[in-house]
Structures are given as structure tokens and as C-alpha cells.
């Protein structure tokens, strides 16, 4: 490779790992949040801001923030696959779609209670994870990317062609859920539902990262063969990452469908998968706060650029390209190596 050593999976981490003191101003800022006491204070502050925000902002802002929180859930899920296990998934929207459609079909066409439909949606997503992961996880990385892309498109086209999924126009009038007499229907209600989901996804990601499985993913990501030699079942470990990611995606999809009340195949396009992936990579693969930051940038960025009209997506795309060129391991990179 020109002027560089050959690429290795560890390059991302080595970039930052060997340095005792943070030199870059951004790194200093991040380091300020690393101590446990400050971290707890930060958690509480963020939670307080999240709880108060809908009362002091417009409904429009609440809806956008709800969308950002949905992306937090999806991005943390994809982060398990891409960031933890190092598997490039370009069809992540498929799992999102499986969750949304399973709940949509069961509640709207069969009259199943929303909460009773959730386990079926999760099982369907886990099954989808096994079906796509099982035969393909032995492939080399960029082939895996394309297979997942193909799978994502197959799911979207299938949803468009089947009658039970409502064809190209999708499903509408998906009933809103209620919980112990609380009818979840206003935008603020859904905002709080997504706050809870995002917090749960955050805790689950953190626990997975610290778990035995999390270390197995790290090992497989860095050196598959050495991991296998140490007794880690490579395929089972990767499959676990897939299924975990699928379940996160399905949870996002389940609540996405009842929030909007209508879903169509175009909500689950390749662009959707790319957007989720961009958020993960932009923020910093494997780094939870980075990924959350990425999710917010991807949702809020185009909104903040709204004044630029049709140019805003172009500006956004150019910014992404620049970030990839100047900070290829993300805004807030993961250091564990």
C-alpha cells in the first residue's frame, strides 16, 4: 500500500492506544469524561436534559429528537455487529424492517395485542439474523458486506411484493399501544418511550462490551485465527453478534411502526442502512458515546442544514467525506486494544 504499512484491523486502536497523555484538544475533552465520578455526573445531566427538553421545546423539536433516539437504538445495535465484532453489515435496515412488519402485521391484521406481538417480532428478527448470518459469516469481509446488502434489498422487495405486507404502499392504521391504562399516542408519550429504549440500549451495549462475549468479539475482530486457536468458536461468536444486532434493530422497528402508525418498504431502503452505518462510523466504531453522538449528528445535521434547501444533503455528504478523510476512525474513537 502506498506510503503506508499494510492495513490491519488493529490500526484504528493503535492510532490512539500508545499515547499516555491526550494531546489533541478533542481527546482532552473526551478524557475529561472518562473518570467514573464525572461519568455518573454526565449521565445524570444528560438524563435530566432528556426529561426536561419536551417541556421547553416545540413539538417539531420533540419529533426530531424522538427520531434521533430511535437512531441511537439502531446505531448501538449495528455497533455490536460492526464495532464490536468487526463485521460490515450493509443491510441492517432489514432487521429494522422485520421488527416493524411483524408487529404491524400481527397487530393490524390479526388484532394481536401490541405487547404480545413483541416476542414474535424479536424471534423473527433473531431468526433472520441466523438465516443471513449462518451461511455467510465465513466469507471475506467485503463479500459479507455485499451479501448483507443483497439480503437487505431482498427483504425490501419482498415487503413490496407480498400482499400481507401491504405491497408498495405498506401498512397503515397500526394501532397505538397502551400500558397499564396509559394510552401512548402523543408525540411526547412516544418521546419518553424512546428515551427509555435508548437508555436500555445504552446499558445493554455497555454490559455486552464488558462481558465475556464482548471480549470474544474483540478477539475475533482483531485476529480470527488466534481467537479460534484459543478455543473461541468463531462462527458462533459472530452469529451471536448478528443476532444481538438484529434484536436491537427489531426493537427499534417495533416502536418505529407504532410511533408512525404506518410503514412502507421505502422506510427500509439501502439508504436507511447506509445512514445507520454512517452514524456508527462517524461517531467511532465500538465507542458507545461516539456512536450516540454519530446518531445525533446524522439526524440533526440535515435538520440544521434545512435552510440550504436541496443543497443540504449534498453539504452533508461532503462533510461526511471530509470526516472520513481526516478522521477515519471516527470523531470519538475506541481505544481498547
Amino acid at each position: 500500500m502506498d506510503k503506508h504499512s499494510p492495513p490491519t484491523p488493529t490500526d484504528v486502536d493503535e492510532h490512539d492506544a500508545g499515547r499516555a497523555k491526550p494531546r489533541h484538544p478533542l481527546q482532552k475533552l473526551y478524557a475529561a469524561f472518562e473518570s467514573p465520578g464525572r461519568r455518573r455526573a454526565l449521565h445524570l445531566t444528560i438524563l435530566a436534559i432528556l426529561i426536561v427538553t419536551p417541556w421547553i421545546s416545540s413539538q417539531y423539536t420533540t419529533v426530531i429528537l424522538t427520531n434521533a433516539l430511535l437512531y441511537v437504538v439502531l446505531c448501538l445495535g449495528l455497533n455490536v455487529v460492526v464495532g464490536y465484532a468487526g463485521l460490515l453489515d450493509l443491510g441492517y435496515a432489514a432487521f429494522f424492517a422485520v421488527g416493524a412488519y411483524t408487529v404491524g402485521i400481527l397487530t393490524q391484521q390479526f388484532g394481536v395485542n401490541f405487547w404480545a406481538a413483541i416476542p414474535f417480532a424479536l424471534m423473527a428478527a433473531a431468526l433472520a439474523g441466523v438465516i443471513i448470518g449462518g451461511p455467510t459469516l465465513r466469507l471475506r469481509s467485503d463479500y459479507l458486506a455485499i451479501v448483507t446488502l443483497g439480503f437487505g434489498e431482498i427483504v425490501r422487495f419482498t415487503a413490496r411484493n407480498l400482499e400481507i405486507t401491504g405491497g408498495a404502499s405498506g401498512l397503515s392504521h397500526i394501532p397505538e399501544p397502551s400500558l397499564f391504562g396509559w394510552h401512548i399516542d402523543s408525540s411526547i408519550d412516544f418521546y419518553y418511550v424512546f428515551v427509555v429504549l435508548a437508555v436500555l440500549a445504552y446499558i445493554a451495549s455497555q454490559r455486552l462490551f464488558d462481558s465475556r462475549l464482548g471480549r470474544a468479539w474483540l478477539y475475533v475482530r482483531h485476529d480470527e485465527d488466534a481467537a479460534e486457536a484459543m478455543g473461541i468458536n468463531r462462527v458462533a461468536t459472530k452469529l451471536a453478534a448478528y443476532v444481538t444486532g438484529a434484536i436491537f434493530g427489531a426493537i427499534g422497528g417495533i416502536f418505529f411502526s407504532v410511533n408512525l402508525g404506518a410503514i412502507s418498504p421505502e422506510s427500509f431502503s439501502f439508504q436507511q442502512s447506509v445512514l445507520i452505518l454512517l452514524a456508527v462510523v462517524l461517531g467511532g466504531m465500538g465507542k458507545i458515546p461516539g456512536v450516540i453522538l454519530g446518531a445525533f449528528i446524522v439526524v440533526l445535521g440535515p435538520e440544521l442544514l434545512r435552510d440550504f434547501g436541496t443543497l443540504r444533503l449534498l453539504i452533508f455528504a461532503v462533510l461526511l467525506l471530509l470526516i472520513m478523510l481526516f478522521r477515519p476512525s471516527g470523531i470519538w474513537p475506541e481505544k481498547r486494544s
Binding site: 492495513p7 466469507l139 469481509s141 443483497g150 447506509v274 477515519p328
Partner: protein, 304 residues
């Protein structure tokens, strides 16, 4: 119409479709050969090529007309412009990333694809642009089989381009350097080959072929829009994989096979045309799972 005529008609349709796939697949496979990158922006270069061809045609149609000659000149202009664009993309976006982790390069390619798509979206407002030409609807009737002149010229033009490429790669000095670089870049550098120049030429040719396909598709189907490159990009990649990625003959073969498979596959009972794309991606997955080297590819140990 007997089954035999119907068979021939599908064959012709498949060849036309396959020619587009093959031309786009060539760019994928050439770039993958020299820098082992899946150029996700390649489908968008096809789209850019269609718009460049459209622009070229409006430039030259004043004195050459919008018939075969005008389209041919417009196509050459589009190939030149998009070829240069491909080289610029490689220099600006991919070259600095060659030492970075594989995932980062793939994401960069996705970002380039988004830039091209959104630039076209901003310029056209997302509307279809009519690609109007003076091409007629004439053709030759052979029994019940109808071959339009457009189809014949299109397939012939694609064949000429592919033969020219094959000759370039197998006979010229740069072609030989290109094959060498795809085998071992470091060794090439030691042998005094200007690897950067070879990569630039590869991007120029690959992008130029995509632009040729884009212009021809625009003239043939009569309309172009900013998102036209996405699906054909995926399908051309499928074609490249079927033929064996990295193999130039494989890409041509894969493109034709995929065009024929789609053309015939949609006429199998139970597989309506709305399942065409599912059918294509299923083929992609099956090939990758059971024969990832494709028809003509060489097996390769993964270096990451």
C-alpha cells in the same frame, strides 16, 4: 408466437441488458483488481455518465444532430469527462485511504457515492430528465422476431468497447502493468512501474466505460435521473461476482449471463417481473456462498 420466437426475443432483450451490466461490471472488477476496493461510487459514475452524455449531446446536437453520430460524439465526451472525474475521485478520496482499515475505505466509497448522488439531486431537483434523441424505432423483422436498430447498434458498440479493452489489457504496456499491479503492487514498484499512474489509468478506463454505458442507457431508455445508478451498480457488482471479481473476461461473461438470467428468469412461471430483483440478489448470495471465486476468478487468501 411460438416458444422458439419467444426464446429468441428473450435472448435479444437479455443481451441488451447484459451489455449494460457488463460495461459497468468491468469498472468494478478493474478497480478491485488493482486496489482491492469495492468502489461503491461506481454505479453513480454510470449515472454521472448519463448526465454528461446528455450535456454532451445538447452541445453537439446543433451541428451533428441527435442521431447516431451526435450520440457517439456525446458518448466520447462523457467518457472523457467521467474518466477524469474517476481519476480525481481516486486521487482525492481513495488514495489517502489506502493504508487505512478496510472498513474505512468502504465507508469513504459510500460517502463518495452519496456526494455524487446528492450533487445530481441538487442539480436536477430529483426530476426525471428526458434524454431526447432522433433515434427511430426502425428495425429488422425476422419472422416474429423484431430486432430494433438501436438494440443492434448498442450491443455492437458494447462489444467493440469490450474488445478494445481486452486488447488494451493483453497487448499494451499499460495493460501489462495493470495486470502486474493487480498481482503484487510492492514488487511492481521495485521493478520501476509507476503504480500510481497505473491506478489512475485503471480508474480512467473503468469510469469511462461506466459513462459509455450510462450515455447508451440514457439514449436507449429515453430518460435519466439521479438515482439510476444505484440498482445497476448493485447488479453490475453481481455480474462481476458471477464472472469472478478481478477477472476482466469474467466481468463481461457475468454481465451477459446476468442479463440473460434476468430476461429468462422473469418468464418462469411463479416468478413474475416484480420478483426480478429478488431473483438477481438471490443469485448473488448463492454464488458468494457456494462459489465466491465466480466462474473465472482465482481463489485468493484474504489479506487484511
Amino acid at each position: 408466437m411460438t416458444w422458439y420466437d419467444s426464446f429468441l426475443q428473450q435472448l435479444v432483450d437479455g443481451l441488451v441488458l447484459g451489455s449494460f451490466y457488463a460495461l459497468v461490471a468491468l469498472g468494478y472488477t478493474m478497480v478491485f483488481g488493482v486496489i482491492k476496493l469495492l468502489n461503491f461510487a461506481h454505479g453513480d459514475l454510470y449515472m454521472t455518465g448519463a448526465f454528461a452524455g446528455f450535456g454532451g449531446l445538447s452541445l453537439v446536437s446543433g451541428f451533428l444532430g441527435a442521431g447516431w453520430l451526435g450520440i457517439f460524439v456525446a458518448m466520447l465526451l462523457a467518457m472523457l469527462a467521467v474518466g477524469c472525474l474517476g481519476v480525481v475521485i481516486e486521487r482525492v478520496a481513495y488514495h489517502p485511504m489506502l493504508g487505512a482499515p478496510r472498513l474505512s475505505i468502504l465507508i469513504t466509497a459510500l460517502a463518495v457515492s452519496l456526494v455524487l448522488q446528492n450533487a445530481a439531486l441538487a442539480l436536477t431537483g430529483g426530476q426525471y430528465t428526458a434524454f431526447s434523441t432522433d433515434l427511430g424505432f426502425g428495425g429488422i423483422s425476422l419472422g416474429n422476431l423484431f430486432l430494433s436498430y438501436n438494440q443492434i447498434v448498442l450491443v455492437a458498440a458494447a462489444a467493440v468497447l469490450m474488445i478494445a479493452l481486452e486488447l488494451f489489457v493483453s497487448k499494451t504496456l499499460y495493460g501489462r502493468a495493470m495486470r502486474a499491479v493487480s498481482i503484487d503492487k510492492d514488487m511492481c514498484r521495485m521493478m520501476g512501474i509507476n503504480v500510481s499512474a497505473v491506478i489512475a489509468v485503471t480508474f480512467f478506463i473503468g469510469s469511462g466505460l461506466a459513462a459509455a454505458a450510462g450515455t447508451m442507457a440514457g439514449a436507449y431508455y429515453g430518460s435519466i435521473w439521479y438515482f439510476m445508478g444505484f440498482l445497476i451498480g448493485l447488479k453490475a457488482f453481481t455480474a462481476a461476482v458471477i464472472g469472478g471479481i478481478g477477472s476482466i473476461t469474467g466481468a463481461m461473461l457475468g454481465g451477459l449471463i446476468l442479463g440473460l438470467l434476468e430476461s429468462f428468469g422473469t418468464h418462469i412461471p411463479f416468478i413474475g417481473s416484480e420478483w426480478k430483483d429478488v431473483f438477481t440478489f438471490s443469485i448473488l448470495i448463492l454464488v458468494l456462498v457456494f462459489k465466491p471465486t465466480g466462474l473465472l476468478g482465482k481463489s485468493e487468501v484474504e489479506r487484511m
